[in-house]
Each structure stands twice: as structure tokens, then as C-alpha cells.
């Protein structure tokens, strides 16, 4: 299975590269959380576990941990879809603390 955070791949020589132009690693090395200007914060008190935020996250950077939605800030790009679609409006988009 794909590693959660893959390593960056560095080829030291042409010989190390496979003959065919093909991937040998996972794009998860790229922590897209750095793109974010605003961050979603879930108020679990008001969360009804409807699964909508998980369903519509394009990364997908919302995991289900112990039956709760948990945002993986390493990758969340801060698009705001989860907050927009949440039926109870329990996800707030707040200024990113950088």
C-alpha cells in the first residue's frame, strides 16, 4: 500500500532510472498543506457524522479516525469545499497561522 508520506526520489545516475519512463514513487511526498491560506477547523461538538465533508474533499485529506472526520493538514489545500458543504456549518475556515 501507498506510504502515507512517501520519500522524495533522487536518481544519482541515468543507470538508476528504469529503462521505461515510469513512476517509481508516490506523489504523497508532496505536502500540499503548504498551499493553504485558510484552514478548515471542525467543531466536533456540532458534527453529525454525515460524511459529506469526507465525500467532497478533492485531495482527499479528510480521514475517518475512530468514526470522526480528521483533517490531514499536511495535505489539505484549504479549498473550503468541506466547510461550504457541511450541513451543520460546523467547519470554519480560519486564517492560516504561518
Amino acid at each position: 500500500m501507498r506510504p502515507r508520506k512517501a520519500k522524495k526520489i533522487v536518481f544519482k545516475s541515468a543507470e538508476e532510472m528504469p529503462l521505461m519512463i515510469c513512476s517509481v514513487g508516490h506523489q504523497t511526498h508532496n505536502l500540499t498543506g503548504a498551499w493553504r491560506n485558510i484552514r478548515p477547523e471542525i467543531d466536533l461538538e456540532r458534527c453529525i457524522k454525515c460524511g459529506i465533508c469526507w465525500k467532497f474533499c478533492p485531495e482527499p485529506s479528510i480521514d475517518v479516525v475512530d468514526e470522526w472526520p480528521v483533517i490531514d493538514y499536511d495535505y489539505c489545500k484549504g479549498c473550503g469545499i468541506c466547510a461550504e458543504e457541511c450541513p451543520t456549518k460546523c467547519i470554519a475556515m480560519v486564517e492560516e497561522r504561518k
Binding site: L19, M20, I21, C22
Partner: protein
Amino acid sequence: MRKVIMGNHALSYGAMLARSQVISAYPITPQTQVVELLSEMCADGTLDAQFIKVESEHSAMASCIGASVAGARAFTATSAQGLALMHEMLHWAAGGRHPIVMGNINRAMAPGWSIWTDQNDSLSQRDTGWMQFYCSSNQEVVDTVIQAFKVAETLMIPAMVILDAFALSHTYEVVDVPDQALVDRYLPPFKPSIKLTPADPRAFGGLTGAEHYMELRYKLQKDMEKAPALIEETGREFGKVFGRELGLVDPYLCGDAEFVFVTSGTAGFTARVAVDELRAAGVKAGNLRIKVFRPFPFDRVREVLGKVKKAAVVDRNCSYGAGGIFYQEVKSAVYGRPGMPPLIGYVAGLGGRDITTAQFKEVAADAMAKAKAEEEIVWIGVKK
């Protein structure tokens, strides 16, 4: 088994004996019989292959690439306009390292619709990274298709087997069609180490930055550099199994020659007749037919030319603004080397015009009368 077959059917037999698994092609004169016979072979079970009747040559090459990367041995055939339409995909096949084998019937490019022979179609694909084998007999066509798969799959570089329109494609010759069991011994099944499969999910050919692209192309060039030796080695092995050796070049009476023609394709055959006649008249002539154009057989060309006093390169093609394309290549092979003869370039037989033995003798007379190499290209048989 000896059979009288046309050059196009020689391609079909080659593809069948190589046990091509996917064939994808689109008809064009003068290639049609290649795919017609292959369709029949697939229909009657002689050949167990998937035949995709695509809607264009571009799609033919695209689907051959798909089949090849999925691990299947893929074959196609085309000519002229069809080959030109494939151009983008030819880069794709070579750059992606997909060892497809393709027959190309040399036909002149339009406009001025012409179905007759001329090498500008395949030579325009010179820099795509394909190997190019120019044949001069139907026997050589069958044999070369089988060898081409072996070389292509060893190096993971695609190969074109090329024959002249009509002069070969539609000419019937006696061909010793190799025995399937022997072909199977010579050419093992295609088993690439990496392929497109859910069992080993990889992305092929993705966005490649400047930090990687050059190494990938360097690898292609390095593997191309291995091709001449491999072609000779597999050619000798072919000789052991089938009794006919296949090489990079086909020298005819070059050993003691003072003057040689450098030729390719069926013109190379006509040149031999001219050589015989010149020898009968006391001229120590020879003919160096270049069979493999990519990779270019630099060493073999130098070996022959290093021993002669003068050479005439006769091209059935023209790179407008520069001249005959084989001529350019041969010049680059001898450049800066001591002991090389002056070279004179001739363009003849474009658009299917015959190149006769008389014309070869005319070339010989002209070349031998010239003291040194000349920039100017001599056009043979043209009404100026």
C-alpha cells in the same frame, strides 16, 4: 517452405512467424496486401492475434503502443502519408521504449499524388528514434521482420522494416518461408520486465522535468549505440539457424574495388548489375548497399570506403536544401578520417522513376571523371 510471394506478403509472413499478438493497421496503397493477408490469417486461425481495424494510422500506432506497453508483441504496416500521419506517435513509441515492429512501403509523398517508390517518407522519420532496415528482396523482408523483433525487444527500441513500393511490395519472388519451430527457437516470446498492469501500478510517460528528461534520452542513444553489434550478432545467429546471415550493410565486390556505389533498397540490386557490367568493361567497381540506416553503420561504411578511390552515393530521396540523405550520412561517417575517398552525391528515381543500369554506369563515369568531391548534387535522368 519455398513460396512465390510478393514483398507485401513477405511482411505478413514475417509478422505471422514472429507470432505478433496485436496488429493494428489502416490501409494505404501500396501496403494493403500486408494487412489483407494478416486479416485472413487472424480470421482463419493461422495467427492467434487481435486485429484492430483502426480508423487512421495515427490510431494504428497509438494502439500498437498501448498493446506493447501492456506486454503484447505489436505489428503494423503503412506507407508515405500514413507514416507521416503517425509522426507524433513514432516519437512516442521510441521515447516510451515500445519495441513495435512496423513495415513501411517506401512511397513518394504528396502533393502530386504518387503511389510510386521514393524514400522521403521513411527518411523524414529519421530522428524519431526508430531503427530502420531497408530491404532489397522479399527474402530479406521476411527474415528482417523476425530479426527486427528480436533486436527491438532486446533493446526496447521500435524498428521499421522498409521496402520499395511496387519494385518490391508487388513483385513476386521465391522466398524460403522460415519454419515456425525454428522461428520460435530464434525469437522467444516477448516478456518485458516492466509493463502496464494493475499488479504493478505505475504511471508511464508522465510530466518529465528538465532534471530527468535528458537522462532518459541519453539512455535511448546509449542503447542505440549497442544496436549495430546486436544486429550483427543476431544476424549471424540467424545465419546459423536459417542459413542466411543478416548484416548492417551488404557489400558486393567491394574487396578489391577502386570505385563503389553506395545504395539502398532495390536500387542496390540494380547497382549490382551495373557493377558486373563495369567489371566486364575493366572497371574495378563495387556496390555498398546500406541495409540499416538507423543506427547508422559508421564502422562498416568506413571499412569499405577506406579502401576505394572514389564513391558515388545514389539517393532515392532528397532533403531539399541539402541533397541526398544517405549522402549526408555517408559524408558524416568519413568526415575528418584520413584515407577516405572523395564522395559525389546523386539523386535519382524520385516518385517511382526507374533507376536503370545505364544510369548507374552514367553515375560511375561522371564520378570517376571528377577529381574531387563536389558540393553540388547531380540529378540523374531529370529533364533540366
